[in-house]
Amino acid sequence: MITRPLTKNIDMQRAPFDCAQYQESGGYAGVTRMYRNMAPADVLELVKSSGLKGRGGAGFPTGLKWSFVPMGDDAPKTKYLVVNADEMEPGTFKDRLLLEGDPHLLLEGMMIAAYTIQANTAYIFLRGEYLKAETLLRQAIHEAHQQGLLGRDILNSGFNLEIILHTSAGRYICGEETALLNALEGKRANPRAKPPFPQVSGLWGKPTIVNNVETLCNLPGIVNYGVDWYKGLGLGNDAGTKLFGVSGRVNNPGCWELPLGTPIRELLEGHAGGMSEGYTLRGFLPGGGSTDFLLPTHLDLTLDYDVIGKAGSRLATGTMIVLDDRTCPVGMVGNLMRFFSHESCGWCTPCRDGLPWLDAILARMEEGGGRIEDMDILHEHLDYLGPGRTFCALAPGAMAPLGSALRYFREDFESHISAGACPWHK
């Protein structure tokens, strides 16, 4: 059986499969069977029972998300599927691999999701900097059309679907699903108040599902090989495989598809080849810039949503950023605060004003001007910008690396202040 359903067709040394090659390797068999044998409700049940969780960062069960879409004769006729391909989480480079490596896999996943919620229009919201992915997706959509896989009455199913590629122009907040919908409507990408949730009132007020690229790429496998196979892929409590990445001072930085439940040590020391010579591991952000630091003592934990959650962090995007002993933790957190400060949409006060304040404090600390009272101000912000205090999850996400750094690397902050200099920049 297939063990790497997301990357089995991917070889970055050659061009990705075109439609014909994709079909020869078993692609689009799942949707063909789906159109023939399955009602939308059957697909929903299948995805629910597969245990698939969203791969964009939040890890919300995909089937459950879909189940909130009103269905049946009384439901609005117009519904939308939107792909979140606005990959911009610091340290995250997994969707790029799928978009550039196997664009037809994404299209097939989109067809399954759109059919399930009966959406006849699907938008791909692609970040503007992913130029190669843009070209490849345009070509793939064109090919799928020519093969009768998109358009009207697809494979005599009576179902119509158009896929439209939208390219953005660089703004992290567009990854927040309601901000993304505003951007797609041509507005400033401020997040919306929830409720109503997009499943009920999303794009142009219509029921809308927003799914991450990797989430959708899981669907063809589930439809093709079933729930038992999918659950069997995971080594622990979570079903399926996931893309995991490692960046920083390691011997072999990269991105790999591994079973959920793989030990962190196997990812870091096996696939990523361990720390580069002369560098020692001090900690790591397990799933991009909005996650809490974990320590070398956590290396034997497994890459499961719950396991990482219990350890005080989040699996999130699954792309690990490694902090080594020759990199200043205050500088690293300062870099992240600058990013979040720049990317705050400015809509709510704690985020708009708090993040630049933190950025300024950490920059001053790095330059040797840290004051002892700064520590209290940093700590206070963990609350002011924490969950429930802000309009969306951007600022609470930013507090994850800051809060955990204050917890685990407190002496490094204090030594900046007492020495009046960054110890790494002597």
């Binding site: 610091p90 992913y130 660089g170």
Partner: protein, 181 residues
């Protein structure tokens, strides 16, 4: 200034006289985008990107032209333009270096590459070389973290940046520019 522009827009005649006429290609491309969305305003960002592709940046005159064409307020459109990192409201150099300064690139030494650009080209973030060849703009994580440090330039992802690689790229793109002109 804000009031003056508002007053200007209120009198649509004045707004139209200030607008730069959109080219046939620009209109054609915007018209295509209009077929993909149920609402004209949704095309705003794509239209600005089209204008920028042809003009290099989005001037006030272009902004007015697009707003008129999409029948929307120019302030609303400018609000969108200024929200996004990649819409340029000032002229740029011929080559724009979209330089990743997010966390993985920072760990892998992007600051030293920035310093090298400062020293060799004399430009820092947001600046353009005197000869109009290069503009340096920091961008959030480019999603290429295993090949850090990286930047996006002339439509190509430039990976594993070193001072030597920067020198080669600069020479190469200067040369290309010279032969084109």
């Amino acid at each position: 200034m804000q009031m003056t522009t508002d007053a200007l827009i209120a009198t649509t005649g004045a707004a139209r006289t200030m607008a730069r006429p959109l080219s046939a290609e620009e209109k054609q491309e915007i018209d295509h985008e209009l077929t993909l969305y149920p609402d004209k305003r949704a095309v705003g960002l794509e239209a600005l990107k089209i204008v920028q592709k042809h003009q290099g940046w989005v001037s006030d005159e272009s902004m007015l032209a697009v707003a008129n064409y999409l029948e929307m307020s120019v302030h609303e459109l400018d609000g969108v333009a200024t929200f996004f990192n990649l819409i340029f409201r000032r002229p740029t150099g011929r080559n724009v270096m979209l330089f990743c300064n997010s966390v993985s690139c920072w760990i892998m030494g992007c600051d030293s590459i920035r310093l090298h650009l400062n020293n060799t080209l004399g430009i820092d973030y947001g600046e353009t070389t005197a000869d109009g060849e290069f503009t340096l703009i920091p961008v959030p994580c480019l999603g290429d973290c295993d090949k850090a440090p990286v930047m996006l330039m002339a439509g190509e992802q430039q990976r594993h940046l070193t001072p030597e690689k920067i020198d080669r790229l600069v020479a190469q793109h200067r040369l290309t520019g010279a032969t084109q002109k």
